[in-house]
Symmetry: C2
Subunit: 188 residues, 2 copies
């Protein structure tokens, strides 16, 4: 299924922070807990380097709206595609920054591959979950903060099958944050 030449070039990667108990947002959808660990020198924990390696970002509508709600300058320097079944247009303000994309994951990927975007950053809980359900995630970079949130939005959801990964590396940031990179183990 994934042996054609294009499939070999494709790479869908996740780079996300989670709590010890696997939440990516607290009960009110908030991200304040990400500031629980003091980061005086604004260590980006490999984010810029990760972003250098990708061609485009695919994010869910929730994540897109969360980023927009920050009221900061648009933080991405790669093309952003917003997966949505409900939105029909994006706000003017995002023209040239983000584009809506719709359809099945297979269709979305085909469309992006045609634009020569092969290395994709898959972001947002529900989007990641839908990619995992179809076993379309090749790499996970999980950055774990030492906190039990006890509720909120989960990173992972039920899957039809067990998915084996291989541990690539683990780094510790600020003495407190454990970041592990995993690659999907696929039969060749």
């Amino acid at each position: 299924m994934r042996r054609n030449p294009i499939a070999m070039k494709t790479h869908n990667a996740v780079f996300i922070a989670k709590s010890l108990d696997g939440y990516i947002a607290d009960r009110s959808g908030g991200l304040d807990w990400l500031q629980a660990i003091s980061n005086p020198n604004a260590d980006d924990m490999g984010y810029a380097q990760f972003m250098e390696g990708i061609d485009a970002i695919v994010m869910g509508r929730n994540t897109f709206e969360t980023v927009c709600s920050f009221g900061i300058e648009w933080p991405y320097w790669k093309p952003v595609y917003v997966l949505s079944r409900t939105l029909t247009t994006l706000d003017e303000a995002f023209r040239g920054k983000a584009e809506l994309i719709q359809g099945s994951l297979a269709g979305v990927l085909e469309e992006l591959h045609k634009k020569s975007y092969f290395r994709l950053y898959i972001d947002g809980g529900q989007t990641i979950q839908s990619f995992l359900r179809e076993d379309r995630i090749d790499e996970l970079t999980l950055t774990t903060l030492p906190v039990l949130l006890g509720g909120g939005s989960r990173l992972f959801a039920d899957l039809p099958d067990t998915l084996l990964f291989t541990h690539v590396r683990t780094r510790i940031f600020l003495d407190e944050i454990v970041q592990s990179v995993y690659r999907r183990t696929r039969e060749l």
Copy 2:
């Protein structure tokens, strides 16, 4: 609340393996996935050393019955207390090995502290969850295998409050397994 001299000596520790998505048993309650990573020299990943540091084990009935179902020799060399609301006696075979213990967690802890068991290994998903709900876990040793099970018994459940921990250390075993130790951050 935890400042009396006995409380200062007490220590409730978790030492448990989990999948990347936070499960401790698969959908059928099975633990076969723990063998997914080849361990030719039977590295115990710090288990014996951890056990040396504890006085007694408190485990839930499910965990007790799972251990019994293995049909192996009794694997513990410390006193085992089985928390159960439903069992009234333990099988003869466990006399001198395990004892039933009942009541509130506060009562259970008081009873064990009176026996001079202060450093406790808290085991089993539901038991760990009930200790966490009352913020009675002081240390977590989480050993993460690189697999998404996609379903099963969760290690963590909802909590009334966010619980902050401090990262103590992380070790990698067999190149694949990431073990992190966390200590509960408590105001002194």
